[in-house]
Symmetry: C2
Subunit: 479 residues, 2 copies
């Protein structure tokens, strides 16, 4: 069905899709009518929750409250801008969040320290100098090394895929490899960004330039994480725009030599830094040890404002708890908000969290995440295979008719929450009309301009309602 | 109906729309059945042309020929890149075109010299330094002066429109005015780009930053022409992205002071340059003095490749003559292709042409122009009020059914060809599905990636067919 994936977990996502092409499907309530447990015990409980869910929707969409998520998010991202892992700015923004969550009356507000890498983008530029002079609009990729104070100058070799890379192996020593793949989806082609440099280095390339992962561009380079294989020269890995990739392809097709210069001070620091996952709760009154987790990541790339990726996901998550507090609702289970750190550098925060909380994971009902856009909401995804649980979520989503977000999609896709899925906890993602998500993803265009107040309100209402309902049902979701 | 306008002639376009709200309307053939002249004389002639028009379409879309316009355009813009008025690069590209048009067998190939201004973009940058540090993605506007070797540092005053500018007059001395209008259409809001600097300078502003003219952005600044009023200080005029305009607005709404630094070496040279309009013909066999003119402009802004604005328009125009030559068709009137120069700096080439050819204008049947995108074609526009002429064009467009481009829109809109309209010559523009035209307009994203080979073929077939038919009808279009 949908073929997009999440910030960086393309390896998992591709594997999941390849091994099970039916992994993603719309659930239409089939079978629920004959599900005795669902019909006799769970459905009546959901019906009892309907009035409080309606209160949540009415409150979030009310004249007084509407636009609040947008405004609070704007105040945050306007103040801090981008929040790269390993920077003081990210830690300042986490301090701000901890203060804010305390002001909002959340319980158990604290940061959980996480060791993180420090990667620094220094000055960087690239030019085509033959057949004519042209500045290239580039972004070095995360974890990429620079050019050691030198300017690399070399002809390019354009390849459309790894097969062509191998076919052109003899041409590559001393050259800059340009990957100009055909973009089908983020999940399918992210392998070029992630592994392209090392694969080119094996054949003797001096740098790799990778087409930006997007279906649409206004000469916009997209950064993102790459990683080096062991025992391979760490050559610079650079994102170029789709326009320049197309240009290089055309020169290549005409057998015109292209020479490019690259200069980059990007580098990995030897020292690690300390960041924090930001945790806060609304403590459950009846089953306090059982946890419904809502989350987004607070770190971002160092371009744009990190508004869409993933300020908005983080904000609808913690604000779900605030809305519940404000309405005086008292969930039976603990609602936990986590603002992950280090997501963009390899899900560092969530894996640290899993390590520290492993023994509690049996009590996690669900790990919810918003990290693929907060456009007009359609509904949610859910990874669990238990049909009663699917009926339960589907029935809850039918309460979302007022905001037209009733679609339940069965899918194992996720970014941070994949770490929970790997550990047996069902996961769920916010599902929105995100056709343009990758237009802005990891670019200077990831700003508040991508976000719309009304869409954020609807996402907020949905996210709050679903997490509240799951924290209230006496029959917790079966896995 | 449609509310877009053309490269720079927003003053004329706005005036036209304001004075006559019905200026743009779809013509549906009404009245043609009762038009005796059309029915008895013209329609039969068009029916006789049908087979040759079909040959044109078949040829352009054939397996051997398809993609040729795209490929030739790509070779041109890849070789020269952007072609700013006043640069040697533009003149080199004109030399290339003159050689190419001779090779293509056009008649009367020559350049007509035109004196043009030389405006130079030097180094330029801007930063927000308060409330936090942020590089701004900017483009100085054409004809703008720079900062005289200094860095301007000043607080900003954000205004949504000229009324707000006047209301805030007392705040403006010594400040940088930011225009953050609501974009409705290029035609409606281009006044801010064009006149914003001088209007702000009158109130004592030290610079003006103008929101980019676009409905969509990935942090993309759009350049374009501005002009200074006489007797007003020539302050720097700078385009900022919609995202930064939104950011400044939010800071302003929160009463947070924003301080910006601007540095710019942009300047107008004292010396004028010489450029050329590039003229070529297929000489008419029966009425050689009567001219059907097809055109686009060869100059571009100094960003991107000038592929969409207006390389593609120029290429489908001269290639219309090449297709007719190639097919051995012998038009009765002279088909003339003109590649205008200096369009982006105020229609300089076309006005020079008008001046030199004024006495011949009575013999111009029509001045056709493609300068608003070459996306999937819908048809053409036509400015003429004579109903028989409207029926004639409508009937010709019915031959475009094979490429689904049969729509005749009555409209006086145009860019370069406005100069003909002002002198009594009916004008026509290529009409395509150009919803995204202003996404790329005057940005680094104006590259071949905007163009699609199949769309260009269809535009080529349409443009060639219409101009050929108008050169063939013994009854020339009445004005």
């Amino acid at each position: 069905m949908r073929s997009y994936f999440f910030c960086i977990i393309w390896v998992v996502a591709v594997a999941a899709t390849d091994s099970n092409p039916d992994a993603t499907s719309i659930f239409n309530g089939e079978g629920c009518a004959n599900d005795q447990l669902f019909q006799t015990r769970i459905r009546p409980q959901i019906q009892q929750l309907a009035s409080n869910v309606q209160r949540i929707i009415d409150h979030v969409m009310s004249a007084n409250e509407s636009g609040r998520t947008y405004r609070q998010l704007a105040e945050f991202v306007d103040r801090f801008g981008s929040r790269l892992t390993g920077t003081k700015n990210l830690e300042d923004s986490i301090d701000y969040m901890i203060d804010l969550l305390k002001q909002e009356g959340h319980d158990n507000v604290h940061g959980e320290p996480v060791q993180v890498p420090k990667w620094t983008r220094g000055n960087e530029w690239a030019r085509m100098i033959k057949p004519r002079d042209k500045k290239l609009n580039i972004l070095g990729l995360g974890y990429s090394e620079g050019t050691n104070g030198q300017t690399i100058e070399a002809p390019i070799v354009v390849v459309r895929n790894f097969t062509e890379l191998e076919q052109k192996a003899g041409l590559i020593p001393g050259k800059i490899v340009v990957y100009n793949f055909k973009y089908e989806s983020y999940g399918k082609q992210a392998i070029y960004r992630h592994s392209g440099a090392s694969r080119a280095a094996k054949f003797g390339a001096v740098a790799a330039m990778i087409r930006s992962l997007t279906p649409f561009s206004i000469d916009s380079p997209h950064t993102g994480m790459q990683s080096y294989d062991v025992n391979v020269t760490k050559i610079p890995a650079i994102s170029i725009t789709t326009e320049d990739a197309d240009l290089f392809q055309r020169f290549s097709d005409r057998n015109e030599e292209v020479i490019v210069q690259i200069y980059s001070e990007n580098h990995n620091e030897k020292d690690k830094g300390i960041s924090r996952n930001t945790v806060s709760d609304v403590r459950g009154e009846k089953y306090p040890n059982e946890i419904v987790l809502v989350s987004g990541h607070i770190d971002s790339w160092d371009v744009g404002q990190g508004a869409s990726d993933d300020g908005a996901g983080a904000f609808i998550s913690w604000r779900a708890l605030s809305v519940i507090k404000k309405l005086g609702l008292r969930p039976k289970r603990t609602l936990r908000s986590v603002l992950w750190t280090g997501e963009e550098f390899g899900l560092i925060g969530v894996y640290d969290y899993i390590k520290k909380h492993r023994n509690e994971l049996k009590d996690y009902v669900i790990a919810m995440e918003s990290d693929i856009g907060t456009f007009t909401p359609r509904g949610i995804t859910y990874s669990g295979k238990n049909s009663t649980s699917q009926c339960t979520l589907w029935e809850i989503l039918q309460l979302m008719h007022p905001i037209n977000a009733t679609t339940l999609t069965i899918s194992t896709e996720g970014s941070d929450v994949q770490a929970f899925y790997e550990n047996g906890v069902p996961i769920s993602s916010l599902d929105t009309a995100n056709d343009k998500y990758f237009y802005f993803h990891h670019t200077q265009g990831d700003t508040m301009t991508v976000e719309q107040p009304d869409d954020l309100d609807k996402c907020q209402a949905l996210w709050t309602s679903v997490s509240y309902a799951l924290a209230m049902l006496d029959d917790r979701l079966s896995r």
